[in-house]
Symmetry: C2
Subunit: 205 residues, 2 copies
């Protein structure tokens, strides 16, 4: 595209480098910012730089945090016997939004994926292993994506974390609430039949 302005082109290229943002969308966003006043644009730019320079990752669980220890790990109200293992901080936020979980987390910063060159050493697995050495920990919950990478990672971690009296669980899988049977994929539908549950258990408490 002919931008007629190097400044504009640079800004469009920066936005265009973000995931899911094409050149046309990038141009729309930049022109929107251009229509804002100077103070707003400065705030936009500086907020990003400030975030990158000052953000921390919790020393306990690796979740994004403003402090060395995140609110969740620091809270006395949480159940410090449970660790929920997730891929990234977005998953922590998604689970927190459900208000159904009261334990701690462990952010792996990715999944084992030989295809993408991500091995166990690239993740925070050693850190997780040392956390589970703590006898206070009673259960590890794997909340990883139901993909090949997620399953591989669970398989690896399950062997690695093997310890007496440590309960290991994964998220329940099956038809989503509100999901229509005819649109469910074959694998999910098939598995949900073989792993069917007594009606009483399926009612939410």
């Amino acid at each position: 595209m002919n931008f007629s302005s190097k400044l504009l082109e640079n800004a469009v290229n920066e936005f265009g480098s973000l995931p899911g943002i094409g050149q046309k969308t990038a141009l729309r966003l930049v022109l929107h910012l251009l229509n804002q006043d100077h103070a707003s644009v400065e705030r936009f730019g500086n907020t990003l730089i400030h975030l990158k320079n000052n953000i921390k990752f919790c020393k306990n669980c690796n979740h994004i945090s403003d402090l060395d220890i995140c609110d969740i790990c620091a809270s006395a109200k949480r159940d410090h016997q449970l660790i929920c293992v997730v891929e990234d901080s977005r998953d922590v936020m998604a689970i927190e939004n459900t208000n159904q979980y009261n334990g701690l987390y462990h952010v792996l910063n990715g999944l084992i994926s030989p295809m993408d060159g991500v091995g166990p050493g690239d993740l925070t697995i050693e850190h997780l292993v040392s956390r589970t050495q703590n006898p206070a920990i009673s259960e590890i919950i794997f909340a990883l994506s139901a993909t090949m990478e997620g399953d591989t990672t669970i398989f690896y971690l399950n062997k690695k974390l093997h310890k007496e009296n440590l309960k290991v669980s994964t998220l329940a899988r099956g038809i989503a609430f509100g999901g229509e049977i005819e649109y469910a994929d074959e694998l999910t539908l098939g598995r949900s039949i073989t792993t069917r549950v007594p009606y009483e258990n399926s009612l939410s408490k």
Copy 2:
């Protein structure tokens, strides 16, 4: 959403204020930036601030430019007898990308829209009128959206610019190339029948 970090929340809110970017997308973009190195994020932020502080608008046509006079207006190769009137700089880029137009432009910075409180005084209409006083200008081309606002603006400008020997034209309207008849809207299809053209004229030269 519970962000667990004020810094993160601020950045997500900034991205979420952009058109078409919801909170989930904003979070995805911010986390992507967080994964980049410091230099990249600083460049991202500073590029936007630099753009806003240094961008100019061509003194002749109001198009976005790095200089006082944009490349198009400064070019001796362009036909300085033609002025194509467009809503904003994005339209200039879209028309430039076709490589079918060799004249100058005039960016209105909007369309007359009483519903949104935009009157003729909010646009660069006086500037356009003074440009058309130049006897060298032979034709004005209205390349405005085929909407109520676009038609209103053309109607207003046509009266305002009325002058002897000044040709006034608008974009051709009809079925898009590659468009299927059955999916064309009734108005476009109906008009394209009443304004049908001799077969020879419809062939591109």
